[in-house]
């Protein structure tokens, strides 16, 4: 039962044929060619597949592609089309990532937070990025970078 879904991906309207058992993450990466969201755990625990869907961060490994029909999706590629955002600059300055696998999820989680609240506290930052697992950095530099943009 193939169905054509239409979504806005990083500002562009895209149409793609999906099966009801296709996962959004796979469709965005393999069929629509946007590679920043990553497969980590595949069960909602790690955050590496994060996308912003209709203004909110979601775990795209737990969303059927067919559910995303008509939605608006933003990934890191869409955030920085006009150059790095201040948040991304801060991540660079603080050397916040090593391998970078968690970076797209962390970046989107922090972006959502900063859009809702310009000056979050350290604890609010921790809560916002909880569930985005980083196996490299110990989180401190990531949090420091977000705090710096929040000031």
């Amino acid at each position: 039962m193939k169905k054509t879904i239409t979504l806005t991906l990083n500002g562009e309207t895209r149409a793609v044929d999906v099966e009801p058992n296709d996962i959004l993450l796979d469709v965005v990466r393999d069929r629509l060619g946007v590679k920043s969201p990553k497969y980590g755990c595949g069960r909602g625990d790690c955050g590496s597949c994060t996308m912003i869907m209709d203004g909110k961060t979601v775990r795209s490994c737990l969303i059927l592609a067919i559910e995303a029909d008509g939605s608006e999706i933003v990934t890191v590629e869409g955030l920085c089309r006009d150059g790095l955002t201040p948040l991304q600059e801060a991540f660079l300055k603080h050397n916040a990532f090593q391998c970078g696998y968690c970076a797209p999820g962390m970046t989107l989680a922090a972006t959502e937070l900063l859009e809702r609240k310009a000056k979050p506290s350290r604890e609010e930052i921790q809560e916002a990025i909880a569930g985005n697992l980083c196996r490299c950095t110990g989180y401190t530099a990531i949090i420091d970078a977000i705090l710096e943009v929040a000031k």
Partner: protein, 295 residues
């Protein structure tokens, strides 16, 4: 990664249509709201439906509003929407505190309270507060609507009273009592995790208390012996210590991946003691602000 199962996908625009589809597929039809449990179940094939019925096309199910009988909480309301609701924070703080403890923000943006109780895994965070508030579950089936108390809704792990042709059509929380509330959840680490154990405590006027434990038995447990002991008494450290002694008579935890049985007993005792103090203080307008971590 990819789901190996094949099934049909439906997205009805009306509740009646969803009910008709469910009647048609019975146990082989599964409702989809946030999907944070269902997609995992499809991945590991613990469910093998023929049809998935996505409820997100039904606008009426997204409502979250005060009515003359209380708060109507539609089955599509997400945890993030609850957390953002001033009404929920100010009038149902127990539910508000519990919503903040669920998983991570990226999950709370999709996952729904109704989905949480329909999945009915023993560690669900929504059930204890709903029981403590005496919530009603509205259930729609081919023959019409019925209502059931939240306390009666849970039959066992992953088993509720919903029949194969029924859908959870909403939750009603009666108008809020004057209350002090506290929801405490023990996890392996701060941040996202399922509960090792949790407890919902309400202190009401007239020295009434409600205590509901979660994740320490097959279904949520209202601690009636503890409530009886506390009834009519002002909260003191001594009284809380006496209540603590009854915990082992109320709950029936197991050893599992997340916690030993003994640790669950110990933490349930500690959480009860702290929860009673915080709830009683909050009833008097004192105590820690709602949202403060008590464990």
């Amino acid at each position: 990664m990819a789901i190996a199962l094949e099934y049909d996908y439906f997205k009805p625009a009306e509740l009646a249509e969803a009910v008709a589809l469910k009647a048609r597929f019975g146990a082989e039809g599964r409702f989809l709201s946030g999907g944070t449990d269902l997609v995992n179940d499809l991945n590991d094939e613990s469910v093998r439906p023929e049809a998935i019925i996505d409820l997100k096309g039904i606008g009426a199910l997204k409502k979250l509003e005060m009515t003359s009988t209380g708060l109507f909480l539609g089955p599509l309301v997400t945890f993030s929407e609850l957390i953002d609701s001033r009404t929920v924070k100010s009038r149902y703080p127990l539910l508000w505190e519990s919503a903040r403890e669920v998983a991570s923000n990226g999950i709370r943006n999709r996952a729904t309270v109704a989905g949480n109780i329909c999945s009915c895994v023993p560690c669900m965070d929504s059930a204890p507060p709903l029981i403590a508030y005496r919530a009603l579950v509205l259930i729609r089936g081919p023959e019409g609507e019925r209502e059931i108390a939240a306390a009666e809704f849970f039959l066992g792990p992953r088993k509720t009273v919903l029949k194969d042709d029924e859908v959870l059509a909403g939750l009603i929380l009666p108008r809020p009592p004057k209350q002090g509330a506290a929801f405490l959840k023990q996890k392996r680490y701060r941040g996202e995790d399922l509960a090792q154990s949790n407890v919902a405590v309400l202190a009401l006027e007239g020295k009434e208390y409600r205590v509901v434990f979660g994740s320490v038995g097959p279904t949520p447990i209202e601690a009636e012996k503890i409530e009886k002991l506390l009834r009519g008494k002002a909260m003191t450290a001594k009284l809380a210590a006496e209540a603590k002694k009854l915990v082992r008579k109320e709950i029936a935890p197991i050893d599992d991946l997340r916690s030993s049985r003994e640790y669950r007993f110990l933490m349930a005792e500690v959480m009860l003691e702290r929860g009673l103090k915080a709830a009683a203080d909050r009833l008097k307008g004192k105590g820690p602000a709602y949202g403060t971590h008590l464990v």
